[in-house]
Symmetry: C2
Subunit: 388 residues, 2 copies
């Protein structure tokens, strides 16, 4: 602390008589120089055998190796990074690690990043949980920039505010300028204002998937379809909703000019979780008791919708059909099994991982869109015949 300072107040001081929280013995770690001394060579030589990027005599190398083993030497990543101006950290930003949607992507990205890692080599995939908060997203980007990360993968929907987009773009531009590879996964491509090279993007066909899903419902005969959407400001939310509306727009719903207003009335926004689905379903039933189908913005929400319907004594799909989005693993296991739109999350994640590692050339135009597939299962069926 500083001279005359009064800073001692903040330091967590262990109570008298009690041992400190943790053994604070800062035993000095063994360094390159220690190894060099032990092996009877210069530290430069040790560095060379460690990195294997420069010829070293066989005998010397052996001696160094032994010294390293005997001393349990572990390189100091910080020092190495500082000297070599490279880092072995790769950041993976996700909205919610607890959500399988992101878990599956992150898992695939991570596998790709660790792939082919030699003992001693290999990048460290850093999964950062933003909780969907724009501020946290920026904070993590700063943290990663501070660590001079080798790469960054941004997954999941983007918050669509001009301010936030600008802030993210600025961060990413700087990161890219300093050599960090940027990859977007499941998020719309970014356009750089100054004509700079936009990051490689693995996009999901949310719009198309949503459209086909609603078309499926329409073709079954449904006309009064509720939609449980996500938070308004997110790109994924918007795209899925647009797909849904696009399908409705070309349908023969007998509502004429009021069609749009009707669709609007049957749309409820929520968060991407189960509780929000539950509440939204009840709200939709209130707005339109004649409802025959509900489309949810994702599978988790759909589960909440199902719960609400059951609590209302309505059967699925007898009284109301329900559909989700993403095809998370549990979706095939609930009963009735959920009709949904499958996104090849693992494949997309693997692709993003390869891109950020530079093991895959960026797609032409910078954007690769992975397709979606309609999975028709037990939760959707033709509406009950009504004798209006």
């Amino acid at each position: 602390m500083w001279p005359g300072g009064r800073g001692a107040v903040t330091a967590p001081v262990p109570l008298a008589g009690h041992p400190p929280l943790q053994e604070d013995r800062t035993e000095m770690a063994v360094t390159l120089a220690d190894v060099a001394a032990r092996a009877g060579v210069s530290s430069a030589t040790v560095s060379r055998v460690l990195n294997g990027n420069y010829p070293v005599a066989g005998g010397t190398r052996e001696r160094v190796r032994r010294a390293v083993a005997e001393l349990d030497y572990v390189v100091n990543g910080q020092a190495r990074a500082l000297a070599a101006a490279t880092s072995d950290l790769v950041g993976v930003l996700v909205n919610d690690v607890a959500d399988p949607f992101f878990g599956l992507i992150a898992s695939a990205v991570q596998a790709e990043i660790s792939a082919g890692a030699e003992p001693g080599g290999g990048k460290l995939a850093v999964v950062c949980n933003t909780g969907g908060s724009p501020e946290a997203e920026l904070t993590y980007l700063t943290l990663l920039e501070r660590q001079r990360a080798a790469g960054v993968v941004l997954t999941g929907s983007a918050v669509e505010s001009a301010e936030h987009t600008a802030a993210v773009t600025a961060r990413l531009t700087r990161l890219a300028a300093s050599g960090t590879r940027i990859v977007l996964c499941g998020r719309p491509p970014l356009t750089l204002p100054d004509g700079g090279i936009a990051p490689a993007t693995v996009a999901f066909d949310n719009r198309g998937g949503a459209r086909r899903l609603t078309e499926h419902l329409l073709s079954l005969g449904h006309r009064r379809i509720g939609y449980v959407s996500g938070p308004v400001e997110r790109s994924t939310t918007r795209h899925r909703l647009e797909g849904h509306r696009a399908a409705l727009a070309v349908s023969d719903r007998p509502l004429g000019p009021d069609a749009e207003a009707y669709a609007e009335r049957l749309t409820v926004h929520g968060t991407y979780d189960r509780a929000s689905g539950y509440d939204a379903a009840l709200e939709l039933l209130r707005r339109e008791p004649e409802l025959t189908a509900i489309v949810a913005a994702n599978d988790t929400v759909a589960l909440g919708v199902c719960a609400a319907l059951r609590d209302r004594g309505l059967s699925i799909p007898g009284d109301v059909s329900v559909a989700g989005f993403d095809d998370l693993p549990f979706s095939a296991d609930v009963s009735p099994a959920l009709t949904t739109v499958r996104i090849p999350l693992q494949e997309a994640g693997a692709r993003a991982g390869k891109l950020v590692m530079g093991r895959l050339a960026p797609p032409p135009g910078g954007v690769a869109t992975v397709g979606t597939e309609l999975m028709v299962r037990g939760s959707t069926a033709p509406p009950a015949v009504r004798t209006a």
Copy 2:
């Protein structure tokens, strides 16, 4: 946005006197010295205002702040860590990010680690996905040691092999010796050979939970109970199985001395995933067609069991009762809702996070056990009356 930042939509504009941004990835980053020059002070002063741990005159501070903003300066974490011998990385090792069990824990740990992060401060939670592989676990520990991580949280079951345990213990000992805080979460406490201080541990009462679960089944009248276990060598697997057997041991099963062999025959080992549950259920039915209940090692496995039973035309719980473990979010939503054992994963994760941040004193004895709670739901019921 930065204080004093320009308009939201403006691209980062190179400052006069500085070379323009080039897409050439050799852009030299702004350093402390640059900021110091710009502000007309020494770099030490800049460092002081940045870290706020030393008094600096108000005017000077302001000038420095402005220079930082104008130059878009971001500290180099590597250099700082090297000089200060501290890192802001905290590793969180999980078996599988795609599994909500780990996702929930990781999410809570991470939230705790980021808690109270000032803009510019804050530790970076690094979620590392081991995939359950012992080698990957060791690799990550090495990587984290290399980065001189501030802390490490190990979550999930441990592989119970003397060799691996020794290897992990060695790594952890060294990490702890160099000042890294170690916390175990959902994994049995570690005993240090040399009397060193074992890491703080947040343990789950797997044994007790499993016992109560099987007792519940027994009290319903079940006697022929199949058990779908996890991989043999994992601690969690063993504990849950032990709890199950303990309950059986005191039951009035009319099988006499053969009881143990019978229990053995009705136990199938698998991996902790859905497919394994599916296969195991079929195998159990083959071994004992008179089965009236199946206990799964976790909820995901239970889902597979349910699917298999349904495919066999058996109703749940009419023909066979099914129970799981963990009480993951989806468990209440499948139908019938799953009887299971709830582990307060978020609470446990938060605790682990506090411990690793030094915000919570280690529990007496180093081990805090979080309780489990039996959640009786629709998937279990008395067995159908049989006219043997």
